[in-house]
Amino acid sequence: MALKTEPFVLNMGPVHPSTHGVFRMRTTLDGEVVVDIEPIFGYLHRGVEKLAEQRTYTGIIPLTDRLDYISSMNNNLAYCLAVEKLAGIKVPERAEYLRVIMAELQRIAAFLIAVGAFLNDCGAFFTPFMYMFREREKIVDLLEMVSGQRLTYNYIRVGGVSQDIPEEFLPALRTFVAQMPGFIDEYDRLLMQNEILLARAKGVGILTREQAINCAASGPVLRASGVKWDIRQADPYSIYDRFEFDIPTGTVGDCYDRYRVRVAEMRQSLRIIQQAMTQLPPGPVKAAVPHLIRPPVGEAYAHLEAPKGELGFYLVSDNSIAPYRCHIRPPSLINLTALRDMVRGWKVADLIVIFGSIDITVGEIDR
């Protein structure tokens, strides 16, 4: 006897344990199989781009903190790069190095959350998550030392950084850089070769090289598909051309590759910090920048390699104290466009894993 079945619609989110914020997926399920999904967002919309038009150039920096709130240093940096490009401001040497150190620390912290949350989505009950938060705590402590904040740092300013590092920062950073590889090895030993994790992540949610390029994916999602594209090397900003590091890439483009690429990225970030730490020159940390910056009429786009991909700021100036237009290219949103192609035909459980492996922050998608 053939039973009559029909697909049903399940609203996942906006309040759901694994949607990484207030994100909603209108999924059509055939039993356990995902037939279709429709991402719906906007629950965290704060109108950052519009707000920016009524603030001074310096006053926008705290807004950028709240875009991808787990990597605020990178957001600060991307925005400041755009303003500096627009106004033609030269940043002192020491400030460049400090920026690189902070940005790379922030990248490690963001990858720790991404990997921890991904493993949590796979069902490892909070153990990897708590392990990774243990190390993230150390990074947050370091960043608190320099900026006084633990989440929204507002540290990188137009023309440099807000203040020089305190004297206890460098010893603490040295200890952290010495210890961190051991902790990353610990994460690898914990689950990297686990049979269940392999079964859950390997070959699941494949994003082919062509698909990844066509949907303009960036960051670990793109690199896991085998494209060697990292803005730090493809279009070096700040002083990244002075450092030596590899770009880890995947081969298949499945969830496991994305997970592996992120873990490998942590090691590369540590390498960069190591080099920047030893080369750190003395000197001023902030260029002489007026309180109210009036960039000449024109436009500028600056982008950088944020933990989630290419984060870009496009600024248009009309020679007033506020930008005429500020547009943000959020990597999460653009990576998310590949979700539907990746999840169709997989199970509900895979939907969560694939979604977790893209690693989004809703603050950045909704802006």
């Binding site: 399940l10 490892a124 009950f125 153990t127 269940i196 509900v348 459980a349």
Partner: protein, 378 residues
């Protein structure tokens, strides 16, 4: 002593109780053990919750609850008071009666399992000579309660969780029972008390494969990690008890832990020598072993990711079931061969059995079995 019950067949259903000469006979015995079982289960559940929360805290490099009472020992009490005072919310579209009945239907079997589990020699409510059969029959009844909960909640997450649960129970009952049959063959009895008495060597040594099969299938049957996908919090929120709050939620919480304790108690009785052990009083041995087994479950929960529903099915039918059948055949041959009852022979058998375990598991995991099927074209 005359048979207490006679079902018309020429068997004594109740084997005469061996040591406890309680005054008043059957009814006093019944009353005493009913009270003991309820008290025991509730106390063990509290202990289990404490061990799980503190143990998981330790494993996850955090403290766990440590504010209520010394070392946080009163945390289960605080939790109990909290859920008792919570509002009981029933969804508008829920089937009210079934929604109310489901926790009860789920909870009763978890308690009833303990009726045949010996806390020490002869100290059990009913020494049924079909004890194991009774457990197998009773333990799957809670699924009815869980499916009732999933259906009555009129919530899609609940329904998904409940359907996963039914699918898991249907598949995992089979390797579970086949793993038990191996033990029954060696012990020559279905009575749990007799099985414990038969274990001069704990059956985990004579039946290592059976033990692993039973442990895995048992974990799947009671929704413990890595098979906890019936209430997978990262996928379907809370599974079948998404729409439950207050005391009714507490009942499900209780069921979950009571079942975990029950499976731990069955494993203890069947494979770890039950209440037997040197020096300590028997009931303490029993409790210690139960808690040790439960701790292993906590350990796996903190370590392993969760498997998917198709992988769950594949594991049951392609991995556990063939191994259970092979284990049964090997055990039958060993029992028929009736090796001499001496220590050197027992050692040989232990080594042989562990080798068989290693070879079979390696063969299956490397060659005959792949976890899951992957993508389906839609």
């Amino acid at each position: 002593m005359m048979p207490v019950l006679n079902f018309g067949i020429h068997h004594q259903v109740f084997i005469p109780a061996v040591p406890p000469d309680w005054p008043g006979g059957f009814w006093w015995h019944w009353l005493f053990f009913t009270v003991v079982i309820i008290a025991f289960v509730l106390t063990m559940v509290m202990g289990a919750i404490y061990i799980e929360r503190r143990g998981m805290g330790r494993m996850q490099s955090r403290l766990g609850p440590n504010r209520t009472g010394p070392f946080g020992l009163l945390q289960p009490v605080a939790d109990a008071i909290k859920v008792l005072l919570k509002e009981n919310i029933v969804p508008v579209k829920a089937d009210k009666l079934v929604h109310w009945l489901a926790p009860v239907v789920a909870f009763a079997p978890a308690l009833m399992i303990f009726a045949v589990i010996p806390f020490q020699d002869g100290a059990l409510l009913a020494d049924l000579n079909i004890g194991i059969l009774y457990i197998v029959a009773i333990s799957s009844v809670s699924t009815v309660g869980i499916f009732m909960a999933g259906w009555a909640s009129s919530n899609k997450y609940s329904l998904l969780g409940a359907m996963r649960n039914v699918a898991a129970i249907v598949s995992y009952e089979m390797p579970l029972v086949l793993a038990i049959v191996g033990v029954v063959l060696i012990a020559g009895s279905l009575s749990l008390n007799r099985i414990v008495i038969a274990q001069d060597i704990p059956f985990i040594l004579l039946q290592p494969l059976g033990f692993f099969l039973f442990f895995a299938a048992g974990c799947a049957e009671i929704n413990r990690s890595p098979f906890d996908l019936m209430e997978a919090d990262s996928e379907i929120v809370a599974g079948f008890h998404t729409e439950y709050s207050g005391m009714k939620f507490a009942m499900f919480y209780l069921v979950e832990y009571a079942e975990a304790i029950a499976i731990a108690a069955i494993i203890t009785t069947l494979f770890l020598g039950g209440w037997r052990g040197p020096l300590l009083p028997p009931w303490l041995w029993f409790v210690t072993k139960v808690m040790a087994v439960f701790f292993t479950m906590v350990w796996t929960r903190t370590t392993l990711p969760r498997i998917r529903i198709d992988q769950l099915m594949a594991l049951a039918w392609k991995f556990l079931l063939p191994l259970a059948v092979i284990n049964l055949i090997i055990t039958a041959i060993q029992v028929l061969a009736s090796w001499p009852d001496t220590l050197p022979w027992a050692l040989v058998m232990i080594i042989v059995n562990f080798t068989i375990l290693a070879v079979l598991v390696l063969l299956w995991s490397k060659f005959f079995f792949r976890l899951g099927w992957g993508r389906i074209e839609v």
